[in-house]
Symmetry: C2
Amino acid sequence: MRLDPEGYLGRWQDLNATATIPHSMRMLEESGTLDNLRRVVGRADGDFTGYHFADSDVHKLLEAIGWEIARTGTRDFDEFLAATVALLEEVQDDDGYLDSHFQGTGGPGEPRERFADLRWGHELYCAGHMIQAAVALSRAGRGDLLVIARRTADLLVRRAAERGVPDVDGHPEAETALVELYRHTGEQAYLDLAEQMIEARGRGGLGPDRLGPHYFQDHAPVRDSTEATGHAVRQLYLDAGVTDLYTERGDRTLLEAMVGQWETAHHEKMYVTGAMGSRHFDESFGDAYELPPDRAYAETCASIADVQWSWRMLLVDRDARYADAMERALHNSIRSSLSQDGTAFFYSNPLHLRAGHREEENAPSRRTPWYRCACCPPNIARLVASLAEYVATSSADTLSVHLYGAARIDVPAHLGTGHLVVRTAYPQDGDVHVVLDGELRPGTHLALRVPAWARDWTLTVDGTPSDAVRGPDGYVTVDAGFGEVRLVLPMPVDLVVAHPRVDAVRGCVAITRGPVVYCLEQADHEDVPVEDLRLRLDGPLDLGEPAPGGLPTVRAAGAIAAPADGPGALYTLVGQDAATPLLDDVTVTAVPYADWGNRETGPMRVWVPVVHPGSTA
Amino acid sequence: MRLDPEGYLGRWQDLNATATIPHSMRMLEESGTLDNLRRVVGRADGDFTGYHFADSDVHKLLEAIGWEIARTGTRDFDEFLAATVALLEEVQDDDGYLDSHFQGTGGPGEPRERFADLRWGHELYCAGHMIQAAVALSRAGRGDLLVIARRTADLLVRRAAERGVPDVDGHPEAETALVELYRHTGEQAYLDLAEQMIEARGRGGLGPDRLGPHYFQDHAPVRDSTEATGHAVRQLYLDAGVTDLYTERGDRTLLEAMVGQWETAHHEKMYVTGAMGSRHFDESFGDAYELPPDRAYAETCASIADVQWSWRMLLVDRDARYADAMERALHNSIRSSLSQDGTAFFYSNPLHLRAGHREEENAPSRRTPWYRCACCPPNIARLVASLAEYVATSSADTLSVHLYGAARIDVPAHLGTGHLVVRTAYPQDGDVHVVLDGELRPGTHLALRVPAWARDWTLTVDGTPSDAVRGPDGYVTVDAGFGEVRLVLPMPVDLVVAHPRVDAVRGCVAITRGPVVYCLEQADHEDVPVEDLRLRLDGPLDLGEPAPGGLPTVRAAGAIAAPADGPGALYTLVGQDAATPLLDDVTVTAVPYADWGNRETGPMRVWVPVVHPGSTA
């Protein structure tokens, strides 16, 4: 499968290859992250810099390079790749251990005892990312890192065997990595270890911590943990691993827990942008419906993890809801985390920025080139480089297309020959042409996802309107024999409201169009504070000029509220709050949330208060 | 001044004396906080327990005991007092240093170098609390601790002189304490040191920290810092100290900054309960209007600090807004932090608790007997023991009454003889009788605060209606010559809305009555989830049975919403969200927020969605 470089997703992949990956290579150097490894072998001086799990940023970028080589065969990164893999090989101990912080030279704050602080140490987390990088590179024909990663994995297997219990990391990640390593190598011990880790989790083994056991998903065994909770990235990476384990071993009690996890995460704890994790305090999921737009922590890595996990759920059970969630996150919270030039990043992705916002370390008001905790940038790089893998799947008799973008989808040999050419500007519009360049065996089906947001849609097969229905799984099916299929998903501009228990956005609407969520930015409303804009529910919603990312802007009918301030204005008696009359009508401009913050920094909001039927705002 | 033990505030003081203080004494023992001191002198084993600033909890309780002895002359605490002061004396080093963590025996995590980590060390913070305790005890005739505290204060003075710069603590508190020590002792050096600390602050001297300089109020000199920001308790304690310095030195540029601080804090960043500090992440003020009810951190100590600071502002400028703020915090966020039996505490005081709420260390769903960071419980104890001091003040010609409660207010000698007897069940009702038992000199005035919430009020002087007007400062004045004054502040049940920029409570109202804020609790609505209750704006609002605290409950007309859940219910198209029809009418019971959580733990909310003019909720 290959995304067309002229398409929306393909352009993003090219930006990733030409900007995000090279930028990340530079930042790993400038931030001292590579020096952390070099100092272990005496090739750099100074103290360890960054968080103690900084090695993982190197691994994630190597994984991105692996996907990128597989995608285009590029040699652009060969020098960096060779040097970095050689460095890792040099740093690795004879027993397979590799973690520059724990191998460190004893500088300030460096713990030295290995595997002694599994709750916070992140040793297995880093190992997991190295394993994923190694598999991606190996699949691209670069097998050096796999040798190194297997030495580390083998160390973990030996430790579990010798001790009778597996190491369980405070930050899940090794679980899904080990299953992938098993799939790639066929070595059963890796799958067994992943299973041991998953079975051992949630039994308090990580010990007491002031953040409580939920933070580490150590509060309940995975089968009993049917609510997404605690640190969002940890929960979602764990869920990916548990779903992988189900896929390999088929224990349905695991799947049942995962369905509960998925439904609470997506039906009660997901922002309209697809982001997850509302609490800054511990980067965690909040309570059900606790989804404040302004204090959305909404870490980029959580959205990436959700794409990876929802994909695994989709592989288990082809239900469009999983792919709907993936595209929601991809086109909104993930795309928004990256600047238009591909070299600056949000870590936290709020849905509302007030004037005079006071920033925090991981929550700046504009994208920055790197972070001391730099987990997100290389995570974007590895996801985007691998995007084509999420486009389609095949089963025994069906080729299913899940994500829409201009692409070429190879027909697997058991279903036919050649490939499908997908032509679309999606998500700029919802017109999707699928042209068969080859042949499908009789009895083969093509299934196309009809997103839940698509109310009216039409399917044409070889120019003839089809009466195919959307199945209960959200897919529409065409039997082999066609030459060309056209799925039209009309994208009117919609106004969306949240469930009434999402208290923080009561009385507000969000503008959406297809999978794309919009926001208002101060840059488009020079004379009126964004905070004072109101939307009319009964006004026209028109498409405006395209934003620089290519998606259209939206123009909507609104009004300007004029709230009072000063003494007594904060709390007033009902009926005496007429201090907020509506002044003039105004045309409001909304831009894709994915594009926000690429101009002058200023207030932004996704959820916009509506004009009440009365005349006050 | 003395609060009547039969009155609302007097009963609270008795509860404090008979329950909160003895309980806190026990908890200081059980928690190991006293042992932290004993181990310095070899009289206890084990590691330091609790946070490194735990000494301050001892000091705050000693201060409470000082106020309590002054109030009632009690000897109940003599044994504890003598033993604890003797312990402090024994622990204190010859140079005056006293901080059990830094003097510690080198156990785990104990830093040993004194004054080396001013940003996080809390050494001056602890010293400040010891100084305040010493002054309170000295005023009650127990001078032992003052000798000890002055040795510590003298050490700080010497260090500043020797080094040419004062120590500036990451946590303000010493500033206001040193001014008080100057007032009590007349020793100018203490005032000078407080001034030096305040002048040195806000210039980055605390050094870089991942929480940023705002957290420590180190981002701007105090005169340039006109917005309440950063860690709420730190900001508010600092403001108390700066206001004290203005009071003593008269530099109006300090006062101007304090007015800016006060107005941003109270006009943009105050919860309707009087609580402050919305962010859990760093216990800080949020942006203007960032006041989420569910994630209100709303630390008890911040409300206490606000009472102390607003009192100082009131002393500078008799404006009812300062006393209004004090009573709002006192009767709501502070009273709510304490259980009805006086022995359990909230640290965080949210305005909304959802079903299935996941707790955090300082934010449990029910009050707990103590905290690892136990700053709040003894802070309540010292505030409540000192409450009578906030009731009234006198100037050259006026006796002003600020807080209403049954009380006896001594007439100062320069204004007359005898005392005023205040008879009132306030805040159960707003009927305030002031009877003069003595004589006021001719030309003397009695000023009574008319709270901003009081729309219609009447004043009767010796039975005759008065035509006195509420002055621009919010006080009504009666000239000497009266025998009895009756101020009636009618307390209808009100519905309050928040400023439209307080996005989190859009479409909601809060029920208030006089200074008392109400909430809905699950315990009163067994059959209907609190989350689904709606209030009708046009229904009757009646008083119901008194709550156990003595304040009436409120019964209001409401309706039950029936939101959908499950797939697709989280975000729906406008007009298609009719999944939340109103079912039945219901009578809603509201209880004083101060009393919530004294029954079975369950959902609670202060801000209640209103029934829209249409028929859906």
